[in-house]
């Protein structure tokens, strides 16, 4: 017979939840119960289409199942330009809080938001919980799609990779976002880094399963296992685009999996140091970008301390070193994709996809910065 007994003890996930209840209860208020329920329930995937495969059959199969490419759907609409209230004022409010200086606050961008092209990601409609089958290799042994949290495609989209760009992916393993960036087929040189050696080797395997060999040659792609915080000793003022997808409390994982959980007692120190590490990584990414270049910072946590706060800190530190940045509004993206994702309302800086049962993606936080000088 079946037995239903008291809940087994889950020390790590319980610790994570207690933490979240306290922090996010306050931060998200009335939204929290619904976000919490999403975090604790089956997440939803997206199928990032591999342009290096002949994927016509796959696409029509996905379409028959009722999925659609959420990126393509937005590109059918008019060019994306900022909507709604100007976000410049918002940045100034933030500056008033004393954390950052006023000067960057007024630098709110008002040119239309342009997105990386050729990234296609299929998702099932809202409320549909059908799961994707895992992708099968084609004749060239490449996989036709990569399954990931569809919201993690957004930082890659807003990075706006253009023809001939050099791009740095500072914390890249296991490589979902790298695969997405490469779909643009526009990158002249891609530098892929992750401090973890084992994860870097996993990343290489992923690259070989999705990208043809000739695009992985050393003159086009460099894979390193360096400490990203020290990047400036290696390269500065170099890249057109930099993605800084930092290690974080990985909220969904921490709320549901005991293993490898950052809320375990022995990792308390590591967890407390995260905002500092994140700030260092973002600052390194900013320095690696050339003047005029763009940086996207992203996490998969809901935590203000790891999101807005880190961005503020990095902006301030950069300024002290004479680097000025402009926060690029992502409101147009939010406006266009609010049918697919649930965005948190009223963030001071950046945008955030929050879990919701009917569209259980995220959490993904992202903030885009343009380096002025």
């Amino acid at each position: 017979t079946k037995w239903a007994t008291s809940l087994p003890r889950y020390p790590n996930t319980n610790m994570a939840l207690q933490n979240f209840d306290a922090a996010y209860g306050l931060q998200l208020g009335r939204l929290w119960p619904s976000v919490r329920c999403g975090l604790l329930s089956q997440k939803k995937y997206g199928a990032l289409l591999n342009n290096f495969c002949d994927h016509r059959a796959v696409v029509s199969d996905l379409q028959d199942q009722g999925c659609g490419d959420f990126v393509g759907a937005t590109q059918l609409e008019a060019p994306i330009s900022p909507m709604g209230p100007e976000r410049g004022g918002v940045s100034e409010d933030m500056a008033d809080s004393g954390e950052t200086e006023k000067s960057h606050g007024g630098n709110q961008d008002s040119t239309p938001l342009s997105l990386s092209s050729d990234i296609k990601c299929f998702v099932f409609p809202r409320g549909d919980i059908t799961r994707f089958k895992s992708a099968r290799p084609d004749q060239s042994r490449l996989l036709s799609y990569y399954l990931l949290d569809a919201a993690s495609v957004l930082p890659c989209l807003v990075l706006d990779v253009q023809e001939g760009h050099s791009v740095l992916d500072l914390c890249a393993a296991p490589g979902g976002k790298t695969i997405a960036l490469l779909q643009t087929q526009a990158i002249r040189f891609l530098s892929v880094n992750d401090s973890s050696v084992s994860r870097t080797s996993r990343l290489k395997n992923v690259l070989h399963s999705f990208i043809p060999n000739h695009l992985l040659s050393t003159d086009r792609l460099r894979v390193t296992s360096l400490d990203g915080t020290q990047w400036a000793e290696f390269e500065t003022n170099t890249y057109d685009r930099v993605l800084v997808d930092v290690p974080c409390t990985t909220d969904r994982h921490s709320a549901t999996e005991e293993d490898n959980n950052i809320f375990s007692k022995i990792r308390t120190g590591e967890r407390k140091r995260l905002p500092q590490l994140q700030t260092d990584l973002l600052l390194a990414g900013i320095k690696a970008a050339r003047p005029g270049g763009e940086v996207v910072y992203s996490t998969c946590s809901l935590s203000q301390l790891q999101n807005q706060y880190v961005v503020q800190q990095a902006l301030q530190l950069a300024r002290q070193e004479g680097i000025h940045l402009q926060v690029v509004s992502l409101q147009p993206l939010v406006h266009m994709l609010s049918g697919t994702f649930n965005f948190a309302p009223d963030l001071l800086l950046g945008e955030m996809v929050v879990p919701h049962l009917t569209a259980n993606f995220g959490p993904i936080y992202m903030c885009k910065l343009r380096r002025l000088c």
């Binding site: 017979t1 079946k2 239903a4 008291s6 009335r30 619904s34 089956q42």
Partner: protein, 264 residues
């Protein structure tokens, strides 16, 4: 002991079941014709006799003609049950503590209970008392409020009890009060899990304490969907619908895992 002027089945007068005899029992014209129809279709005097015994037993229980008719409509099997069995079953229910009034209500709401052999009812009652530690009095209330338990799978019944006892931390008295056994396990679990994941329900610790105030079991179960969602879960219908689909899948997978482990 019966009213004068009415003849009751079982008495020699009414061996032949004419429309007239039904009218005599107090049925209205339409009711009488309906009954007569049913009985004539049954064919054979044995069948007619059976209907008579059922009617008698139901009248003796004190049900009025229209309730009797409804009961027979809801549960046509009653036409075919022997009088002795019927009497035995009714007596047994009385012995379990279903006093006058509640016995009639149970039969009116769930006439199927009279199709269940005494032995089965005894097994279920013993099971509820021994495995779930309900008192005699509580068992009577359970049967009164949720008579369908007598036909429920015992494994399921035990699981439901354990779920509410251990996972929700609810004691027997409150289970009885909230008429828990009326609700299918899936519904109980779904409503509870939805709250739990939203952070609105906590399993009490050993001392029975929680950090938040849990809603009462009866509030969780006895509100209609809309009220449950708005007042208790503070969620939308879309969320809850999706959640239901997810839960169904999660539980299927859980069961499959358990079967696989069992098969090893």
């Amino acid at each position: 002991q019966h009213d004068h002027g009415k003849s009751y089945p079982g008495q020699p007068v009414a061996r032949e079941l004419s429309v007239r005899s039904f009218l005599d029992m107090g049925f209205t014209d339409t009711q009488a014709e309906l009954l007569h129809d049913t009985v004539s279709k049954a064919k054979g005097s044995a069948a007619a006799q059976q209907t008579l015994t059922s009617l008698t037993a139901l009248f003796v229980l004190g049900l009025n003609p229209s309730s009797v008719l409804k009961v027979l409509e809801k549960c046509p099997e009653l036409h075919h049950i022997k009088e002795s069995q019927l009497t035995q079953r009714i007596n047994h229910l009385r012995k379990l503590g279903l006093v006058e009034g509640s016995l009639q209500r149970v039969v009116a709401h769930y006439p199927q209970i009279l199709t269940v052999p005494v032995k089965r009812v005894k097994t279920v009652v013993l099971f509820i008392r021994e495995k779930c530690l309900f008192t005699v009095q509580q068992v009577a209330e359970i049967i009164r409020d949720s008579p369908a338990v007598v036909l429920e799978d015992l494994g399921q019944l035990e699981y439901k009890f354990q779920y509410v006892f251990f996972r929700m931390g609810v004691k027997q008295a409150e289970m009885v009060k909230s008429k828990l056994f009326r609700f299918p396990l899936e519904e109980v679990r779904c409503r509870h899990c939805f709250l739990e994941r939203r952070g609105l329900y906590q399993t009490p610790d050993k001392k029975g304490q929680t950090l938040i105030e849990n809603p009462k079991l009866s509030q969780i179960l006895h509100t209609d969907r809309e009220t449950y969602l708005v007042d208790i879960a503070r969620g939308t219908a879309e969320e809850y619908d999706t959640f239901g689909k997810m839960m169904a899948r999660e539980w299927q997978e859980e069961e499959r895992r358990e079967r696989d482990i069992g098969a090893d």
